[in-house]
């Protein structure tokens, strides 16, 4: 068969179809021959009207979906995606290696306000904290990167830092392997979708919305609620606690109940005995020691910060990760300085609505107070050149 003259005749089609239960002939029905050009018919339908109708209905459905989430209190904001994290991380590769960098978990992400810091410091830090994630992954990555020579503020949320838990661990892998296509996709998303649509939020994805409906519980099956939307992000990951958590009592209580199930849940399998837990904690501290040594060897100033929490969350942290066994050992072994909120009157007394994160006004105040302490006691301003 010549490649230029191969096609299926209607007779071939009919002959093959008689062979079995198949409505269309494929290569499966023609063994050992050159396969001809496939036939692909378009069903006889008024496709112009169909497309128009589909577009109108699609617009109505999407408009209704957007209206629903806005009515519920959501506003358009930027996706806290791996792509955005990678974009901020790349700033260090692209000439901002001497910047101040924040790493940590959600408390550093929500509680440190970049615009306040910039107003006081003259420099806008790079925000690399990841919610639900130990900062040690990022710290180790920065320690291995000679381009980073700036200042590093490491947030310590005890249950994440000393357990090594990494809910967003994929962000670092994404940064290391990001493809050109993904970079373009992120740019398109941040230009055409994220600033305009409130429904575009991880928490409002269709499967998640359906999953959290009030389905009958399966006896004895774990029925844990996923963490809900807690924050709002600007274009460079400057993030704060969502107002709904502060103003909507029901939603705040929901957020607290989700923390409660976390606090009352079983320990992870690698920490379910005191000996295993001690090993995990020691391993995380050793990781911090190694990374700190590498960073300080090339002049990076490392500062650990323990942001505030309250209520049952603080009680849990103190019970499972007591300061003397974790924070104090961390500072002693790394030799790096640290700021624990309990040690500074100006960092105490905040009232996190869901026990873990500060509301925006408090976050701004906390940022200013923390900056003042850091400048006063730790990071002296650069001498004039």
């Amino acid at each position: 068969m010549d490649m230029r003259r191969s096609e299926v005749t209607p007779e071939d089609q009919a002959r093959y179809l008689r062979r079995g239960d198949y409505a269309r002939v494929t290569a499966a029905d023609r063994p050992g021959v050159a396969q001809p050009v496939p036939l692909r018919e378009v069903p006889a339908q008024p496709w112009g009207r169909i497309l128009l109708g589909a577009c109108v209905l699609f617009a109505l459905l999407l408009g209704g979906w957007e209206w629903y989430w806005r009515a519920w209190g959501a506003t358009p904001d930027y996706y806290n995606s791996n792509a955005e994290w990678a974009q901020q991380r790349r700033r260090i590769d692209n000439g901002e290696g001497n910047a101040t960098v924040f790493i940590g978990s959600s408390r550093v992400l929500f509680d440190l306000q970049l615009d306040v810091w910039q107003a006081l410091d003259g420099e806008r830090p790079i925000q690399l904290a990841l919610q639900g994630t130990t900062p040690l992954l990022t710290m180790e990555n920065l320690a291995a990167d000679p381009k980073f020579t700036g200042r590093l503020l490491v947030g310590v949320a005890p249950d994440l830092f000393f357990s090594g838990f990494a809910y967003r661990g994929a962000a670092l892998k994404y940064y290391l392997k990001e493809t050109p296509s993904q970079r373009v996709g992120n740019w398109l998303s941040r230009t055409l979708i994220e600033p305009w649509f409130a429904f575009f939020d991880e928490d409002f994805a269709l499967a998640k919305v359906l999953k959290r409906q009030d389905w009958p519980a399966r006896p004895d099956a774990p029925d844990r609620l996923d963490v809900r939307k807690l924050s709002v992000s600007a274009s460079d990951r400057n993030t704060h606690l969502w107002d709904k958590v502060v103003t909507d009592v029901q939603y705040r209580d929901l957020a607290r109940s989700i923390w409660t199930q976390h606090l009352n849940g079983p320990p992870p399998p690698d920490m379910d005995t005191a000996e295993k837990a001690a090993k995990v904690i020691d391993r995380q501290i050793q990781r911090a020691v190694d990374a700190t040594a590498k960073l300080r060897a090339r002049g990076v100033q490392v500062l650990f910060v323990r942001p505030p929490d309250a209520g049952p969350y603080l009680a849990f942290d103190n019970r499972v990760f007591p300061r003397a066994r974790t924070w104090d050992v961390l500072l002693a072994k790394t030799g790096a300085p640290g700021i624990h909120f309990e040690d500074y009157p100006e960092l105490r007394g905040f009232d996190p609505p869901e026990w873990s994160h500060l509301k925006l006004a408090d976050a701004r105040q906390f940022t200013a107070a923390l900056h003042a302490i850091i400048v006063r006691d730790f990071w002296k301003p650069d001498p004039p050149k």
Binding site: M1, D2, M3, R4, R5, S6, E7, G20, D21, A23, R24, T26, A27, A28, D29, P31, G32, A34, Q35, V37, P38, L39, R40, E41, V42, P43, A44, Q45, P46, W47, G48, R49, I50, L51, L52, G53, A54, C55, L57, F58, L61, L62, T179, P180, S181, Q182, V184, G185, L188, L192, A205, L206, A207, L210, Q213, W215, R218, P219, A221, D223
Partner: protein, 471 residues
Amino acid sequence: MVFNSLTFVAFFALVLVVHNLPLRWSVRKFNLLIASYLFYAAWNPPFVILLWVSTVVDWYAAQGLVKAKREPARHAWMLLSVIANLGMLGYFKYGQFLLDNFATLLHAVGVAYQPAPHDIVLPVGISFYTFATLAYTLDVYLRRAEPAENFLDYALFVTFFPHLVAGPIMRPTELVPQFEQPRRANADQLRFGLALMTLGLFNKVVLADGFLAPVAEKIYDAHALPGALDAWAATLAFSGQIFCDFAGYSTTAIGAAMCLGFAMPDNFRFPYAAVGFSDFWRRWHITLSAWLRDYLYIPLGGNRHGERRTMAALMTTMLLGGLWHGASWTFVVWGGLHGVYLAVERFLRRRFAGYQPGTLALVALGLLTYALVNITWVFFRAKTFGMAWTVLGGMFGANAAAKPILSTFYLLSVAVIVGGLVLAHWFMRARTLESVIARAHPAAISAVWAVLAFAIVAAQGSGAAFIYFQF
């Protein structure tokens, strides 16, 4: 780039505009070639070189085959193509696997050997385009086809972006002739092509990624011991996930090609309504199974040299077919199980040659086929044999100490989606999608199209890669 990404939406819109500009056909083909290279380079630009190597080697091998006067020379040109393509595939895809097994073998005979890590990134879709280019030289070698006259047509056949990275695995005779004459989709082809793309993306983004993948992950990527219900639910979920993922990709690819005025073959014919395994393989990943049949099973002797030789050819084909899917023994077992199923079916068909099942028996045999296919999926999905045995143990009641894992929502998702999928396959068993759409009311088509498109947007897919990209 992946079809389920904003980058692809922008890329495809641009390609459609450029393809419909009033330019010479050769220029428009050249544009498609450049677009296809961009599509591939968007993952990892240096890997375009591999694509070029594969393209150029097979172009010259086919030319050499035609010019060769003697059989040994023809053999040599064919072998050059096979060695170049399979060598590339072997190095990138199976290098680490071969090294690990070599080290294990040496350990077994008491030699301590620790190979250096291979650390090679697998080029996306290499298994697909090496098979497409191999088909080109093998068709010429087997005298089934003449080589293409025009390098541009041939290069575009290899690279054409709708099929490049995950099929359908095109034969040169299916696509090269389509590049001979100017092609542009008419308005209805464009609209129906867009409808097919919507359907394909719905399968991938909403059903596979949104609802079914998390259920399979809860069991297959965790350490808890699953009971019978959880193990079956996760395996059924994976059966739905892999179908929706891969058939979704194929449907999107067919739709994208149609929007540009080209026809691509079916890759699936509602496989979960298959009765028996020969039927299953004529419905599942058709372009791969037909490729393996035409270029491996038949050259190995097929069914022309007695029962023993037929069985050997069958098992070899299925074991290598399993290995094609991934460098792991679990894939080999998956292929081997299908080989055993086919062999048993062959025996039974001869033993009960005159048997014609009634409707009930047909459905029962179909459900048995589906259940047995699900057992093979355990080895396909599990990353280790340990996990495969754990899940299989659960499925057959061996995990007495197991506690419930999946919530009601997950169980319902599987029941509704996979149950619906199997029913739909039975309804569509001897139909085509086009024939059903042709009989539907236009308003119903509009409504379904809009709902699918809305569900894709509302699902907010993460741009997760299609499962078959890794193969």
